[in-house]
Symmetry: C2
C-alpha cells in the first residue's frame, strides 16, 4: 500500500534526500521508497514509476515529497514516517550548523562573506541552475554547473554571456574539475605537475588524472566542459576558453584534451587551437579510431590509460629538454646499425612530419625529408667489404665524424645494440666519436645526441657500464625508438611562446561560493579552500509565474 508525506517549504539537496531515502528503505516492511522535491518533473517520475499518491497534487518544488510502498496498510504508517523524516532532517541541520564555513541565504550575502570569490559551484536541480549561474557570471565569477537537465538554449545563453565577460563556464552536467588543487564536485586528489587537462568527460577526467598520479605524474588543473559543449550548436565555447587559459598558464607544459568525438567543425577548431598553442598535447576523442598518431605537437590516443601514459611521457620529455642544450640546427640525423630500428625511427619521424616514407631505400636511406635523414648503416651499400657496424663500430663513426661539416643537424640519433655477436664496447666507441664530433663542431654548433640501448643486464657487454659510458659523454638515453623520436622532434621544434603570467582563475587557489549540494562545500573546506555555502531554494516557493513577475520587478 502507498503512503505519502509532504513536508511544505522544506527544500533539500539530493544527498539529504538520499539519506532520508535510505533510512526509510531500512524498514523491512518497506518495498519501495521515493523521496523527491515536488517539481513538475519529479511528479511525472512518481507517476511513471507507479508511486503516485493524491497527497502530491498540491506539492510545490519547495515541498519535500515522500512516497513509500509498504506491506503495512495502517494509515498511522504515514505519520510514523513523517516523524522519522523530521527527526532525521533536524539531525542533519544540526550537523550543518557546525560546518566550519559561513552559510548565506542569498548570492549577495555570499559575496559579502567572501568578496574574493571567483568560482560559483552550482548543483541545484537543473531546472533552476540557470538563474544562479547568470547571477554569478554577471558578478564576474567563473561558474561550474554540476547540475544536468539544463536546456540547450539556456546553456548557449549562459556560455555566450561567459565568453563576453572572459569567464569560464564549466558545465552544465560537468561532474569534475580541479583548479589549483581545489576539487570541484567529483574529483580525486592529484599531485601537482605539468599537465593541464581539459575535458568533456567527468569520469574520464577522474580516470586520466588518477592514472597520471599512479604513473608518478601530476597536473596543474583539470577543467571540465560538460557533455554538450563540443556539439555543433554550442560550438565548444567553453573548450576554447579553457584551452586559452591553459595556453596562457606557464605551469601547464603539456595539455590533455578528452571528450567523446566532437562535431566535425568543432573538432577542427579544437585541433587548430591545440596546434596554435604549440605545447605538446594529447587528444583523446573516445570511440573514434585513430588513423595518424599525431599531427605536429598533437598526439592522438584511443584509451584513457594510453592518454595518461603519453601525457606523463611528454611531461618527462619536457623536463629532459630543459636540461639539454638549445640547438641551432633544425634537422635530425639518425644513424642506425639495426635495420628494424632504423625503419621504426623513419616511420615515426615521417608520421610526425606528415610525410611518407619511400618503399625503396637507396643506400639505406630510410627517410630523407625536410632536411631530416634516417639511415640504416647495416645496408649492403655500407657493408660490402666491411663488417657490419654492429660488429665494427668504425664504419658508423666515420659517418658521425662527417657531421662536423653539417651545422644544420641539431639532433643526432643512433642505436646501441648489445648482445651476443655484437661489438663488446659499442657505447665506448660511440662516446669517443661523439666527443670528437662535438670538438670539431665547436660551441657554435651544439648538438643533442640521443641513443636507444637495446639489451639486457644479462648481455656480455655490461648494460650498466654501457649506460654510464653514454651518459658520461653527454648522450641522452631514450627508453625506446618511439621515445627517442619524440624527444628528437621536440628538441628541434620551435618552443611554444613562453607565457607570461597565468590567467587570474589559474593563478591561485580559488575562493568558491557553493550553491546546492552541501557535501561539495565540505570537500572544499577539507582541502583548505575558502568557501561559502549559499543555502538555495527556488524563489517564490518554486511558483514559476510568481518567479517571472519577481524577475520583472528586479
Amino acid at each position: 500500500m502507498l503512503h505519502a508525506v509532504v513536508i511544505k517549504g522544506c527544500f533539500q539537496d539530493s544527498v539529504t534526500l538520499m539519506v532520508v531515502s535510505r533510512d526509510l528503505s531500512a524498514n523491512p516492511q518497506v518495498n519501495r521508497v521515493s523521496v523527491m522535491m515536488g517539481t513538475p518533473a519529479n511528479k511525472s517520475v512518481f507517476r511513471e514509476t507507479g508511486l503516485w499518491h493524491a497527497a502530491l497534487d498540491a506539492a510545490t518544488p519547495n515541498d519535500l515529497c515522500i512516497v513509500v510502498d509498504s506491506e503495512a496498510s495502517d494509515p498511522a504508517t504515514a505519520d510514523a514516517m513523517a516523524e522519522a523524516v523530521s527527526a532525521r532532517l533536524a539531525e542533519l541541520a544540526r550537523g550543518k550548523r557546525t560546518a566550519g564555513y559561513p552559510v548565506a541565504r542569498s548570492w549577495r550575502r555570499a559575496q559579502q562573506l567572501l568578496p574574493e570569490a571567483n568560482i560559483a559551484l552550482i548543483s541545484v536541480a537543473g531546472h533552476y541552475a540557470h538563474e544562479p549561474a547568470r547571477q554569478a557570471l554577471e558578478s564576474g565569477c567563473h561558474v561550474m554547473i554540476f547540475s544536468d537537465n539544463v536546456s540547450l538554449e539556456k546553456e548557449i545563453e549562459l556560455k555566450t554571456l561567459a565568453r563576453e565577460k572572459g569567464l569560464l563556464l564549466m558545465g552544465p552536467d560537468c561532474g569534475t574539475a580541479i583548479v589549483n588543487q581545489a576539487p570541484l564536485a567529483f574529483a580525486n586528489r592529484i599531485p601537482t605537475g605539468a599537465i593541464g587537462v581539459v575535458g568533456a568527460a567527468g569520469t574520464g577526467i577522474q580516470e586520466v588524472t588518477s592514472q597520471i598520479a599512479r604513473l608518478g605524474g601530476g597536473i596543474t588543473h583539470a577543467l571540465g566542459l560538460g557533455g554538450r559543449d563540443l556539439s555543433e550548436r554550442v560550438g565548444g565555447i567553453s573548450a576554447l576558453t579553457a584551452l586559452d587559459f591553459i595556453a596562457q598558464d606557464p605551469a601547464s607544459r603539456v595539455i590533455v584534451f578528452i571528450s567523446k568525438p566532437p562535431a566535425a567543425s568543432v573538432k577542427e577548431r579544437i585541433l587548430a587551437t591545440l596546434q596554435a598553442i604549440g605545447k605538446p598535447a594529447v587528444a583523446l576523442f573516445l570511440g573514434e579510431r585513430v588513423i595518424a598518431r599525431n599531427v605536429g605537437n598533437v598526439h592522438f590516443t584511443q584509451t584513457l590509460d594510453e592518454t595518461a601514459a603519453l601525457a606523463v611521457e611528454l611531461a618527462g620529455i619536457d623536463s629532459r629538454l630543459a636540461i639539454l642544450p638549445d640547438v641551432s640546427g633544425t634537422t635530425i640525423c639518425g644513424l642506425y646499425c639495426g635495420g628494424t630500428l632504423a625503419a621504426e625511427a623513419a616511420f615515426l619521424l615521417a608520421e610526425r612530419l606528415a610525410v611518407e616514407t619511400d618503399a625503396a631505400h637507396p643506400d639505406g636511406v630510410m627517410l630523407h625529408a625536410l632536411g631530416h635523414r634516417i639511415i640504416d648503416l647495416g645496408d649492403d651499400s655500407y657493408t660490402r667489404g666491411r663488417p657490419h657496424p654492429m660488429i665494427d663500430p668504425s664504419s658508423r663513426n666515420d659517418v658521425i665524424a662527417k657531421l662536423s661539416d653539417d651545422p644544420a643537424v641539431g639532433v643526432l640519433l643512433f642505436d646501441v645494440v648489445l648482445g651476443y655477436g655484437g661489438h663488446l664496447d659499442p657505447a665506448g666507441e660511440l662516446a669517443r666519436a661523439v666527443g670528437e664530433l662535438r670538438l670539431a663542431r665547436g660551441a657554435a654548433a651544439p648538438l643533442v645526441v640521443i641513443a636507444t640501448l637495446t639489451g639486457t643486464i644479462g648481455d656480455p657487454q655490461d648494460l650498466a657500464g654501457q649506460t654510464r659510458a653514454l651518459e658520461d659523454a653527454g648522450i641522452t638515453i631514450a627508453e625506446s625508438v618511439r621515445a627517442a623520436v619524440l624527444l628528437a622532434a621536440s628538441a628541434v621544434s620551435a618552443k611554444p611562446a613562453s607565457a607570461g603570467e597565468a590567467p587570474p582563475l589559474l593563478r591561485e587557489t580559488p575562493a568558491v561560493i557553493n550553491i546546492g549540494l552541501r557535501g561539495f562545500a565540505d570537500d572544499l573546506l577539507h582541502n583548505s579552500v575558502r568557501v561559502v555555502h549559499q543555502q538555495w531554494e527556488p524563489a517564490a516557493g518554486g511558483n514559476e509565474r510568481l518567479q517571472r513577475l519577481l524577475a520583472q520587478l528586479n
Copy 2:
C-alpha cells in the same frame, strides 16, 4: 700509394678480417684499408672503391686479399704488412685451438663429433651458404642462415626442402634467434617466460625481447625468418613452420609476430594462422597503420615498445586467468557508474567483438551485442528520482542482484570511482553485493568479477582499504578499463587447445654445428650449448667450375 698482399689458401671469417683490418688502420701512415677474401664480388668492391691493385688479379675466393692506401711509398711496406698480418693470423689461430669446443673440417666429421646436433648455424659468405644449408637439411637438421646475399631462387629451393622435411629454415639474412636460451648469432640474454616470438626483423626481435626483459617478462623462444620470407614469392614458408612450432609448444602462451608489412596474400595467411592457433597474439607489421586494434585474439601494435608492453600484459592476463574460476557463462555484463568509463568499455569490447557501438544509448545501454552488455547506470533513466550510483551504490547493487537469474553471464565488470563527492565506501558496498550474488547463483554458475579502481592514495576513501575490500571479496582489480576488457574477453573465450608436447626443436637446449663466424660458436659455448665448429672453406679453392664437377661426382 696502394700496397697489396695476397695470402694464398687462407680462408678467414669476417671477424678475423675485421681484426686484421683494424690492426692495419692503427698505423698512422695508413689512409685506407680493405681486407677481404678474393671472391668475384669482393674484387668488384676493390675496383669500385678505388683500391684495385694488379696483385689481386690471380686471387681466388680462398685467398686473403689486403690492400692499403698509405703515405709510405717504400715497396718494403707491403712486406712489413704481410709479416704483421701473418703474425696476427697465427695468434688468432692459437686462440682458436683452445676454444673449448671441437672443430671439424667437414659436415660429416662435425656430425660424428655431435651426433645429437639439431641446428646448423651458417654464416659463410652468402654466395656459398646454399651448399652447407642443403647438406644440413638433408641430414635432418634445422638451419639458420645468418648470411645475406643468398639468391631468392636458392632461398625458395631450400625452404621448400625444409618444409618437405618438417624442418625450420631461419634466414637467409636472419640475424637473430633464441632457441631455449641458446643465442643464435646476434641475440640478447632474455629471461625465460611465456612469450614465443616469431619475426622477420633481426634488431626488431632484439629490441622487443630486450623490452620484454626490461618489463619483467620473458620468452620461450625467438625464431627468425629472414627479411624475404613474407614476400609473395617465398610465401611465408618459414613463418608458417615457426608459428606451427610455437602453436604446439605448451610453454609459449602468448605469441609475438614482428615483420615489415608482408605481401597481402601472405599477411592474410599469417593472420588466419594466428587466429586458428587461438593463443593471445601481438602482431607488429612495422610501418603499417593500425586500423582495428585487434581481430579476435590477435592484437595489432605500431611500435616495438608497444609490442613488448602488450605481450607482457597478455602474459600477465594469462597467468591471472589461471587462478580465476572457469566460468560456464559466456557473456560479459558491465555495470558502470562512470559514463566515460562505460563508453570506453563499450568501445573496446565492440572492437574486440568486431561489432559497432550505437550512437544512441537507450537506458544507458552502451553496448548490447552477442549477449554482452555494457550499461551506464549514471544514465538519466536510472537517476530520475534517485541519487547517482557514485553517491549511492544501492541502485547498482539492485542491478547486480538481478544477475542471479542470468547464468549466461560469466563475467561481471564494474568501476569503483573514489574521490571527493562520491560514496565513502563503494568497494565495501560492491563486495557485499557480489557476495550475495555469488551465494544466490551457487557453485553451478561461477562468476568472474573484474573491477577498475579510479582513484589515488590521497583520496578520502583510502585506496589501500578499498583495494583490500575488493580483493577479499574475490574481485579481480584491473589496472585500466582497457586491461579489464582484455581480461574479461579472455575469461569468456574458448581456451586454445591445450598442446601436448613441444616439437623436438623447442623441447630442449639445441646442439649446434656452427659454420662460418667463430664468434657465434664462442657465444654458444659461453651459454652452455653443445657446439661443434665446422672450419669451412669454399670447395675446390672456390673455383666454381671445379665445384660443379665435384658436385656431379658426389
